[in-house]
């Protein structure tokens, strides 16, 4: 089911948190609302599910206007960050609760609970209480409860925040699998760009109540609209360097890079350089000293201080042979160089 949010405005008291936001989520699409805390992503989610009233604009599920419908009557479900399982009920009672409320008969309930439990792989846990489950299992139960009545839209509020690194990886894949298999329209709210990139078809990156860019993960990573987007996406993060655009791109300390043809104009710019686009494999051009080497297993993070004093970060496969204090003269991958005007817009 398609979701269309138009000119959505939300105020808390005198503060306007979100003003005239538009968002369109296609049927069966999974979209990430990504952004730092306080950017308005949770507010948007709560407006969609009906917990917050909208102060302006409209919300449609398909052709149906649900702007003023109470939460109980919208066909939308939220998986909360803390799972919000009912602690006094068994797993199967938890999942069955939405069906019981709608007075489905016992046979239907048993069948549907069984089917959804199978889908999220918790068939053998149905008799347990939530307190007896691990974090990942609780997550699966919350997902099952949200999905059992086949809502039009599924909302996920930081669903992985309470899991440890390993489980996060696993549940990321799981949630995406369930979403794909059921073809449900889903919105994921998160502050973690890796989560957003790995789980979603498209990402809406928000800042201060505005959508900064709405694009696929790959587009957003390779072709950010502005400096904020470039800085938010990517781990380890991109390095920004002040530079001057002339015949060549000139940095302080005598370093310079060839100017890619696609960059127009001249004057002061901010150069954005992702760690994987700096290294000996790209020739030479930036001279400096290695200040830090952080092994990560299959690759190492390397901090470089250029002769002009700027700090840069590179990532190289392990076994590169460099150590702290080494002088280096590394090149960059010119076609991936990002440049921004001094007010942060992409050039």
């Amino acid at each position: 089911m398609e979701l269309i949010l138009s000119k959505f405005t939300k105020r808390f008291g005198a503060t306007t948190v979100i003003s005239e936001m538009d968002l369109h989520v296609g049927a069966g699409e999974m979209l990430a609302l990504l952004g730092p805390s306080g950017c308005g992503k949770s507010t948007t989610l709560f407006a969609i599910c009906g917990i917050h009233r909208m102060d302006g604009g409209s919300l449609h599920f398909g052709d149906r206007d649900v702007t003023t419908l109470p939460a109980q009557r919208r066909s939308v479900k939220v998986v909360f960050q803390n799972y919000a399982l009912y602690p006094h009920m068994s797993v199967s009672d938890n999942i069955a609760f939405p069906l019981r409320v709608k007075r489905h008969d016992r046979a239907t309930i048993t069948r549907k609970v069984g089917a959804i439990a199978e889908l999220v792989h918790i068939g053998e846990l149905l008799d347990r209480k939530p307190a007896q489950l691990s974090g990942g299992q609780q997550q699966r139960v919350a997902l099952a409860r949200a999905m059992v009545r086949e809502p039009d839209v599924l909302l996920l509020d930081e669903p992985l925040a309470n899991l440890d690194a390993k489980l996060r990886l696993e549940m990321r894949t799981e949630i995406r699998r369930v979403q794909r298999e059921t073809g449900i329209t889903a919105i994921l709210v998160t502050h973690d760009q890796v989560e957003a990139m790995s789980m979603c078809d498209r990402i809406a990156l928000m800042r201060a109540g505005q959508i900064e860019q709405l694009a696929t993960p790959v587009q957003m990573y390779e072709n950010p609209a502005n400096q904020f987007v470039a800085g938010f996406m990517g781990n380890p993060p991109i390095s920004f360097l002040p530079a001057h655009l002339g015949e060549r791109i000139t940095l302080s300390g005598g370093n310079s890079l060839p100017r890619p043809d696609r960059l127009a104009g001249q004057g002061p710019i901010t150069l954005g350089l992702r760690p994987e686009h700096l290294g000996p494999q790209f020739g030479q051009g930036l001279r400096g000293t290695i200040t830090f080497v952080e092994p990560q297993g299959r690759e190492d993070l390397i901090d470089v201080r250029l002769t002009g004093g700027e700090a840069l970060r590179a990532i190289l496969p392990s076994g590169h042979g460099h150590a702290i204090g080494d002088s280096v003269d590394w090149g960059v991958r010119g076609d991936r160089l990002l440049a921004f005007s001094t007010d942060g817009e992409r050039i």
């Binding site: 917990i51 939460a71 009912y86 609760f97 409320v101």
Partner: protein, 280 residues
């Protein structure tokens, strides 16, 4: 486990000794009563000299022809305590939920008011209560005393229950609403089971408080019809014709027995009131 080890400077036996010393007076007092109630003391002596069940005669004969029998009084006390505690629980459950969940303008004011009401000197209200009860025709009836006692206990009840409601995550209610349940259904099926330990503790505590109440029945229901054990005891000791310390102590034993029994049975449930947790 780690907690114990974490405080290396404080010895445990040391602490047990201090706490025991602090509780000792109450324990000694109670021991005195047990011994005294089945003993015939030498006049003026602190220590008893013989064994005597005569003090327990109130169980099978009337102590004073002008007063109701012990069983009628016990029944009154039980009705008084249980109706009071049930009403307190019913009101607290709803009012505390509202206070915990809603942010209405006068919230702070109500909350602070609750504490003060709990500490308000009853005696200064007695006259007004007296007039109102007489006006309502409830003076010298058990119903009137119950009404007043419940009103006075309510602040404490609301305060306790609010603590328990506060521990129920807000998301659980929102999940229930998303699941299509009405507000009432959410409260009844999802929230209530989680504050149930607090409710049980409150029920017990307000029952005990009703069982122990003395001033209100004394002042507001002085007649023979609505006597409770506390006023009965007071009558025994105050009446010059039947004044008898041994008898008084025996009745005291009889009176406090339910408190001890409830304590032993519900010890674990009472514990829940600490921390307001949902661990049950």
């Amino acid at each position: 486990m780690s907690r114990t080890a974490a405080v290396p400077g404080l010895r445990i036996w040391h602490l047990v000794a201090v706490l025991s010393a602090m509780s000792a007076p109450l324990v000694i007092m109670y021991a005195f009563q047990i011994i005294d109630s089945v003993a015939s003391p030498a006049p003026g002596a602190l220590w008893p000299t013989g064994f005597d069940l005569n003090n327990w005669r109130f169980l099978w004969e009337s102590v004073d022809s002008g007063r109701p029998g012990i069983w009628q009084v016990t029944f009154n006390t039980f009705v008084f305590a249980s109706v009071t505690s049930l009403s307190v629980c019913a009101f607290s459950l709803t009012a505390a939920y509202a206070l915990s969940r809603l942010n209405f303008p006068a919230r702070r004011f109500f909350l602070a008011g609750l504490i003060v009401l709990h500490a308000f000197p009853t005696i200064t209200l007695i006259i007004a209560i007296f007039i109102i009860l007489q006006y309502l025709g409830l003076y010298d009836t058990l119903a009137g005393v119950i009404l007043v006692k419940a009103a006075l206990e309510l602040p404490f009840g609301i305060w306790i229950m609010k603590g328990f409601y506060d521990t129920v995550p807000w998301e659980i209610e929102m999940a229930g609403v998303q699941d299509g349940a009405s507000r009432f259904r959410v409260w009844w099926s999802l929230v209530l089971p989680q504050v149930q330990p607090g409710l049980a503790a409150l029920l017990i505590i307000s029952f005990l408080s009703g069982w122990s109440e003395f001033v209100l029945p004394l002042v507001l229901a002085p007649g023979a019809g609505a006597q409770v054990l506390a006023t009965y005891m007071n009558a025994v000791i105050a009446s010059e014709t039947t004044q008898d310390f041994g008898l008084f102590k025996a009745i005291g034993m009889f009176y406090t027995r339910p408190v001890i029994v409830i304590y032993l049975i519900f010890q674990k449930r009472l514990m829940n009131i600490y921390g307001g947790g949902t661990k049950g």
